[in-house]
Symmetry: C2
Subunit: 253 residues, 2 copies
């Protein structure tokens, strides 16, 4: 379904001491952001919180109220530090129950892998009333509770859960983007960028500088939901760069 | 300075449409987390917000009030979408002024690079009363305003600003960590992990599963500020794994 008349937004709560300690490099933010873009949904904010009940509950309640969708990653495994299900249930004001289908999926998955046990059964626990999101990799499903989507911490498992959700969430027009690169210091073209954005309402221009091969350059990313407007804005920017003797590189550097 | 009697905390606000769009993979969270650990400061929460004034102000005000230190990354360059200085000034309730030293640094830096201009001078703007954090790479300094530290979005520049801050922030005892790997499903050892953590107050055990070479395994990371306690906890965990025929791999897999 597509409602083109408004902007659909999502937020993400990354649950993870391993991210906050610096041990693990998060990959779920970029992965979810990219996937949401294709669904016509904007990722509007992200919070990374520790494996602490109150911190998760606060983030979940604030973000689910002001976004169409809230995703969480992490903390849905079988061990003592996996408390996301309990925190989301508390945020929603419902008890935690064992989902019969999740229980069956886990029993079948572990039949040839040492059998089910209490820890593994933890992964069948859901906030009351929740549905499941299929996980073909490791048995334990993701969970949908109201507008909250609980995904795995392991990026490859989350990728697979997102794949199962593709096309199932209502969104608006996808944001399209185009990149123009240039060997120029962004400070040389700040006026050009500002004026070009201003003269193309509905387009946003981001400027991403870099230092490479001993030279400064930047990629300018133009975003819009309107492809014709995007093309017009790109043309003006490229002509503006060429006019000061800085050759634009369509597609970026 | 080190005050070992309490836990020092920090938060991070990542300012960046480029992170929320999925275009850029954030590297500053892990980088700052690791650096803070060495300073004896815990990264307690992170928020990623868009390049929107109200969103930055809200995050800055909430997080600076409940942490000893607040860092921001991104949005301090010369272009129209760089509004972090304005947002932090608004959050602190002070005007934006041009810092004379920053102005001098930028004038010197750009002397051989096309000269100073209005856009480049934007990078000398600071919240009134703020100090500077040296940036040897690109001239434009970081900014310290109260307990708020404004760093660059480009990770290599932030690395260098953090280097300049090393040892200058008051912190507590650094958290030390040790890792024990094991070719075991974490769901097989959930009880062992919970019991081992419970019997070693002051230690936290995180469990990080993986799938590799067709087998499941996990790394168990034990964290504490007390090295002797950490070693005792590690010994109990390794013995517990060995007792069920799963050989521990000190240092992790």
């Amino acid at each position: 379904m597509t409602d083109e008349s408004r902007i659909w937004t999502a937020a993400l709560v990354v649950v993870g001491d391993e991210i906050l300690s610096g041990r693990t490099q998060d990959k779920n933010i970029a992965q979810l952001a990219t996937w949401l873009g294709v669904q016509g949904i904007r990722l509007r904010e992200v919070r990374v919180v520790p494996d602490v009940m109150d911190a998760i509950v606060e983030a979940v309640n604030t973000l689910r109220a002001r976004n169409d969708y809230l995703f969480t990653t992490g903390g849905i495994g079988p061990t003592h530090d996996d408390i996301t299900v309990d925190a989301v249930a508390q945020a929603l004001g419902v008890p935690v129950v064992v989902h019969p289908v999740a229980r069956k999926v886990l029993e079948e998955y572990y039949e040839s892998r040492g059998g089910i046990n209490e820890a593994r059964l933890r992964m069948a626990r859901v906030p009351e009333g929740a549905g499941l999101i299929e996980n073909r990799i490791s048995g334990a499903p993701g969970i949908q509770a109201g507008n909250v989507y609980l995904m795995a911490g392991v990026p490859s498992i989350t990728a697979q859960m997102l794949d199962g959700l593709t096309g199932k969430l209502e969104g608006g027009l996808p944001l399209v983007a185009t990149t123009v690169g240039c060997w120029v210091a962004e400070s040389e073209v700040a006026d050009l960028l500002r004026e070009t954005e201003k003269s193309h309402p509905g387009c946003q221009i981001g400027s991403y500088p870099f230092f490479r091969e001993g030279k400064v350059g930047a990629n300018f990313v133009i975003r819009s939901t309107d492809e014709a407007l995007l093309a017009a804005c790109q043309k003006v920017l490229e002509e503006g760069l060429a006019a000061i003797g800085r050759m634009p590189v369509p597609g970026g550097i």
